[in-house]
């Protein structure tokens, strides 16, 4: 059953739903951000409730801050800046969106960001066009203004090498969606760049003893290590003894199984379960459903594809949703 629930304004370039699917943020070509809200939880009609200017240049991506920190979004603009906006109600002005933080930008641009670790200390991973990964930490649980750079590193397994003049077109980050405070926080990140070593997706985990991020797995076969990565997505895990991560490169979508027990070197076993081809060229987005069993993808072929494993563990394309004219 399909139905249209919302009409987007002219010039919309990207959209993002909040945690409960009750609000949509839409980034526009002219640098404005629009917020659409549903009036009550049972209704699925949405109306635009706020519109404000974020930047002069087009908004490329919007990401909601985890709800434990309020109603806030992070916006990446075409000029590579990253800013955080929050909805507040102050006595003098009523409901409004205010700029909380504009992250410093030097020469490199922000390509992708994701928030993680919402249960303990909110973190923000940002991937930059020079191949750097920066992890910021929120200092104050009630104020989104104060962030501290926790770590900065490159997406390489061999931590000593440094690629000075990398130029990256895109990047994709995905946090392990687990909420348990017992497990260390981790994320997967891949680049599409001119430096092959940066490209392959690596799983980074925070090492509490040494207070640093360590690469614990690399999700590519030896012959595919240089492939440019267009998207990564870490599946929710509701009780599997292993993790599932989807990786999209120009060769197709691959599903990886990540073991949970580290070996002597602290590495996790990674096994490629499937290579799926469907979108003829670039994959734009990937999203797992809340049980972590169905993967939805979109790509430059203009259709939505749904992927699933059957009972024999064979991954296959379940359905195609094609916009009809």
């Amino acid at each position: 059953m399909d139905k249209s629930i919302l009409t987007l304004d002219k010039g919309t370039r990207c959209t993002a739903w909040n945690y409960s699917g009750q609000r949509l943020a839409a980034g526009l070509l002219d640098g404005s951000l629009l917020i659409y809200d549903s009036t009550d939880p049972a209704s699925s009609t949405f109306i635009s409730t706020s519109r404000f200017k974020v930047q002069e240049s087009s908004i490329l991506k919007v990401v909601w801050v985890p709800p434990e920190y309020g109603d806030a979004v992070a916006c990446i603009s075409a000029d590579g800046t990253l800013s955080l906006w929050e909805e507040v109600n102050e006595d003098t002005e009523g409901h409004h969106w205010k700029l909380c933080k504009c992250f410093d930008r030097n020469t490199s641009q922000v390509l992708d960001i994701q928030f993680g670790d919402a249960q303990t200390c909110l973190k923000l991973v940002a991937a930059y066009s020079d191949g750097q990964i920066k992890v910021y930490e929120l200092l104050d649980t009630l104020e989104l203004e104060k962030w501290q750079l926790q770590a900065e590193f490159q997406n390489v397994i061999d931590l000593v090498s440094n690629f000075g003049n990398a130029s990256c077109l895109s990047a994709s980050v995905s946090w392990n969606p687990q909420r348990s405070e017992l497990q260390q926080s981790s994320f997967v990140l891949g680049f599409s760049s001119n430096v092959p070593a940066l490209n392959s997706p690596k799983v980074w985990e925070f090492d509490l003893d040494h207070q640093r991020w360590l690469p614990v797995a690399e999700l590519s076969l030896p012959e595919d290590k240089t492939d440019q990565v267009s998207a990564v997505a870490w599946a929710p895990n509701i009780g599997r003894p292993y993790e599932l991560i989807a990786v999209a490169t120009q060769k197709g979508i691959s599903i990886w199984r990540l073991g949970s027990n580290p070996d002597a070197d602290g590495r996790l076993s990674a096994q490629k379960l499937a290579t799926l081809s469907g979108h003829d060229s670039e994959v734009w987005e990937m999203d797992w459903d809340m049980s972590g069993t169905t993967l939805a993808t979109t790509g430059s072929d203009g259709v939505v594809r749904l992927w699933q494993s059957n009972l024999n563990g064979v991954w296959h394309e379940q359905a195609v949703l094609a916009p009809a004219s």
């Binding site: 739903w17 945690y19 734009w284 987005e285 939805a296 939505v304 359905a319 949703l321």
Partner: protein, 710 residues
Amino acid sequence: MPGVTSDTGELNSLSVVPHTLDTQNPRVYPLRLHRVTRPLVGLSISWARGNTLRVSLLQTDDAASEQSPGGEVVEVKLGSADAGEIPEAQWRRIAYGSVAPFALLQSRKNSMDALHYEKDWWEHVMEYSKEINSLLGNTKSSVTPTIEDPKTVLKKVEEPTSLKAAWELMEMFYADKQSQTWIPERLLDWLADFDCLFSGTQPTVHAKLVAFQNELVTIQAVENHPEYWEIMSSALAVGWLDVVVKLLRLHGSYLFDQLGSREIENGLVEAVALLISEMPRLRPDMPPEKIGECYSTKPEFMKAWEKWRAKITKLDCSAFWLQCDHQQTRVGLKNMLQVMLGNASVLSNVTYHWIELYISHFLYVRPFTVGLESMYNLAQKCMHLKPISYRHKLMGLIIGILEENTEVVLAECSRSFGPWMVTHAIELMAAGSTQAETLLHEEQSKIGGICIEELHRLTYAQILSSHALTWNIAPIYLTSCMKQGLGLLENLLYKQPVQHHQVLLKSIEICRLNGLDYVSYNMMKIAGVHYWKHGKKGSAVFWLQQARDEVRLNRIAKHLFDFVGKSVSDESFKQWEGMIELLGTESKTAGGLEFLKKYRDFRRSLQQVQGGVTTDAARKAAEALISLMRNPSTPQQFWLPLLYDSLKLLNWQERPLLNVSQTNLLLNKLQELSLARLLPGFVDAGLPSEALQSVRLALATNLGRAILDE
């Protein structure tokens, strides 16, 4: 479109349940565009709760006119129901109604004594099945004749659903142990109820009967019409004996004005009608309107059957036929006798699809058939004789059941009848067949170690989750899943819009029932932060306290300090008094808030001192001051303002209010404060520069006077 070549389907039928039997190419489902036109510049996807996928379709700017929108968001609910047979509201009624029987059966299962398992478990399952069945509609047999109007052979009843038909099949073959010996008769009843479902796609006896009834009002002498005889043979073949007898009695020879000329003819008609009424049936009982002689044991039935057949043969060879002048009657009645004698080619001629033929074989060719294997063989024979032109979903299910292929039955249930059906029917299957039970409960390592039963429950729960009116019954099914149910429940709860009060309360209740305290704390935390940011500070503090979020409460306490710490005369303090009252109720959760309550009490007594001049009140205020300054939770930034506000107490005219040790304590605090001034992170209270000096002096004076006193 490149890559999109395979067949297309209806979105309603799109299911996302994994099967072992999935081998076909992916089907293509068209997404209708309501407000935008192609080409599209972008597509964005996001899963909402459950099985809901939202697709943002972004349009190119130059594509359309000024008025056209920039895009739209289409919401797709995957595999939520079967193809529109049952309206949504009805579905929700079924979904809600099936919760209680399901939960009762689960709790019985959990508390079951292993010894009693085999003996009476099926009785519980039958009780469950009957309750579920009653939710699916109240279909009475649609081929029941009514007595009132002789020309009405069919009662108009509410159209039954294939869902109910499917459920009854499952019940008949898996759950109902009592009817195992007379399954052919049950199938006959089933077809009488549901033959109309096949009418949409192929000719059926039911459809012919309906058509004939419509004609009946205009027909004068029915016996002259070939359809009359055809329809009676057909109805007789599928065992609708009451209909046939009623139709026979419409025969013209019964009319009074025919006496004298058509007695023999009438006698023959009545003889056939009598034989039909006496037909032996292998079943314990029958509804009152049905006809035939019931025999519950096989030997008795066989004896009666032989006798009955002998009577038919005898009538068939009777000499009276030669005296029957009406040719149509003679041929028609003879044909009916052939049906009753089990003439295979006649049966094949008068039935329309294989299930009808199948029933006729049970009745007249192989009345003693027992066991699924022989039933399956017979079904195959009938399908061979009447090839399937359109494979109705119920046919797929019957074949799966008869060939005892659990996987096919599961796949048919879930594909054709949806996740509700498969989730609830699994209980019947598990009770009815050991082979099915093993398959349903075996852990599947390839799908993360859950069993098929759990997989289907999870899928069904996802569907319930996707609707705001049904999400709250999903937990019943999730908690019956041993391995991944709670994990999915957690994810579902985290996606609830907790700023809506009712949703939050319901979620907390669900957490409480399932021991998910940490999840409810997190939801209360989200609600608290939402209220805090949106200016509802009281609600914010309440929910953060419920969430036991000390970090944020302490942070809020610090925030309040900034407001209350300025001066006694400051009006802003009044605004915060109510909040402090609220904070005080569970002050243990955060030290900073405990301070605020004490501080409020101190401020009150200080105000009394400033109003009146009784030494008693002043003494109390001084005690409150000492208690505040002693308390380790009093923030350093408050020390000086507290003392500055208390200057009047320190300089009390009548007598010193503080003794030597108390004064020393305050002096020590003052010294600590001047050292802290040099450290980073020191918060200046923003008092006038002479404040420190005047406090220092007042304390010295008080100390001096105290020493003199002691």
